[in-house]
Symmetry: C2
Subunit: 445 residues, 2 copies
Amino acid sequence: MAPLADRKRTKSAVPKKKPKAVKPRRSGSARKPKAPVSPLAPKSFPELPAIAGVSLATAQSGTRYKGRHDLMLAVMETGTSAAGVFTTSKVPSAAVEWCQSRLQEGRGNARALLVNAGNANAFTGKAGFEAATAIASAVASAVSCRRGDVFVGSTGVIGEALETEKIVGKFTVLAGSLAPDGWIQAASAICTTDTFPKLATATAEIDGVQVTINGIAKGSGMIAPDMATMLAYIFTDAAIPAEVLQTLLMLTVHDSFNMITVDGDTSTSDTVMLFATGKCAEHRPVNRPGDPRLRDFREKLAEVATELAQQIVRDGEGATKFVTVTVSGAANARAARKIANSIANSPLVKTAIAGEDPNWGRIVMAVGKAGEAADRDAMRIDIGGVTVARDGMVDPDYKEATVGKYMKNKEIDITVDVGVGRGEATVWTCDLTHRYIEINADYRS
Amino acid sequence: MAPLADRKRTKSAVPKKKPKAVKPRRSGSARKPKAPVSPLAPKSFPELPAIAGVSLATAQSGTRYKGRHDLMLAVMETGTSAAGVFTTSKVPSAAVEWCQSRLQEGRGNARALLVNAGNANAFTGKAGFEAATAIASAVASAVSCRRGDVFVGSTGVIGEALETEKIVGKFTVLAGSLAPDGWIQAASAICTTDTFPKLATATAEIDGVQVTINGIAKGSGMIAPDMATMLAYIFTDAAIPAEVLQTLLMLTVHDSFNMITVDGDTSTSDTVMLFATGKCAEHRPVNRPGDPRLRDFREKLAEVATELAQQIVRDGEGATKFVTVTVSGAANARAARKIANSIANSPLVKTAIAGEDPNWGRIVMAVGKAGEAADRDAMRIDIGGVTVARDGMVDPDYKEATVGKYMKNKEIDITVDVGVGRGEATVWTCDLTHRYIEINADYRS
């Protein structure tokens, strides 16, 4: 594939702020055969506008990957607030620990974000945290800010020492090439086994002032082959204090990034961060997450987060189907989430979808194993809007041929009413195919 | 494959009570290409001795399968006590509901067990329970016992109505062909997608009296393609009251059948039952599970149950490796079980094993996602007895080539010490291969 430097030159010839059909290209590794772009990839990428107070740069570190950029630097102006949601793993990566300590001790101020792809700096002992600290120090020197205001992200191999010197050696170049555009390059630089970069944008109004929300993400499998992680970074020029931002982000993640699953595996490095520069046209201060003037912002933030989350599923390792699982009638929302995840994570449901088999018996099985209340004899299952089973048995009018034909689509909707209450939830997932096994078993890393 | 009738004739020519090298053959379905016998299958089957008070028969129902027996009848003499452990699924099959109600209302008396393969009679509404009741009634007539003392098992397709008449029509033939031998035929008749029948036997002493324990099981994938279920039936001629038997069985299942996983999916029909005829040479009554005279029986029962459980893993769909995951150093036994299951169920760990890749980073990930206490910086991982990681990072002496060579074995041992307590657990599983996807996605059922 073409190095990103070429892509950047091509891109600079086109006008800004308009959606543009950029053909998806994979972000490759020199160590594995080239993977084809996911059949579920978006047809084109959105063109992300500049965000006041944010500048970006990318570079090639010379560590794991050949012929592509694998470092991403974002610098934010003074006054930027930050929020973060991180992996629940009991063995988090050094970068996650660094970011969590910064948010706790730094009162949510942020000036820079540096992400490296190819090495997760996870399970690397004390040396790992020292490496994260050294990177933050070097970024602080290069962009003239406090070390405590620098956030870091690492994604890639677990258990290998980070080649810190090679990475740090690129910071002068990175600081010198900062520019307000280059979102697709930034999204590409943080990829590992992703077959396409992930971007989303929206505009919102706060108190009559227009603000922009841009997001980039990477992820392909909850943890990719020897690679780790879902990372997502969202930037806005809105002026929102860190405490409010943190609550907004947590609420948003709950219904977006926490509602996707590829293989049920959880990375040591999963990270979603939200930065608000406050450099939009001035709006009156917002001091609480429930402020009605934040309503449009909350909606648009949810849109950006959901779009990024769904793109990660669309790049799920080996995915050929994008599956929406909606559960209703559960005892409560938490129970609905658990049942929906049980269906979405079931290897037998996922392989049936891969085989285009409307095997609703496996959906019944997955509901049953979730451990949440379900009324077998009131249960109803619809696939693609067609009722397959109701009142605890196959629908008398069900014709397998109809649903069998529907299963050939790339987008599959499954809805299940478990008949006990009013809890609802929607989870997005993909199918489980030979390609998943190929990616994760056939190639030695 | 040869019909079981042929196999029976061949077998009757060989002497009893000695281990015999019977070549594994698959129990097939006419609706799918023939599956090869699992590479992890035992080299030969044990010859199971007769058990005083138990007689067996098998027949072909003419429902789903062609050219093989798919009905198994076991008749036990008066005085037999029964115990059962069943699926935790919230949508259990009709057979499971029938057996549970019999154990609750029938004070643990048992006279007969009828199992059909090919149709799980699950998610079949009220008609399903009526079918189970009709089968029990017909068995009771055929063998002259109370309906309430008849247990039933069903395994196969979910959601299709059982062809009760075809099954019931064979009961006269079944009752007429009851014999004290025929364990391999019984084990074969309950198979669905299994590639070999599963049998185990042991002798134990209770109060100086020798008793026999025979077990048969089926299962290949926690729930096989459109087929459901792990079923295991264990018989003994010991004299043990039902309440004691129930406790012994629950304790045994906890460390055997509950410690295996193929794909983490849970059937609607999982069943383990234990029948004790009391027809051994007389021993003094045992009235509590902790009776020291039951010590040897408990051990041998655990051996039989563990052997059957491991055989199910060895016949895991697509399995090429038998994997033992041992976790120590957890906060308590429950935490150790959860961490061991998290490792054993991780698609990324299982695909790495399939790829013969000593990808210990994925083991770290799976420990982290279990949600139980683990001290990252004290954690130790051994593969095949070689220390891979310790003190939270790769072992300085670790050579990937050594462990890479070990990964080519069919039996893989993974041990993880999470460094916080004294909780231990062992889980048995298999790898996740292309063949699993083939079995579950490529063939329409």
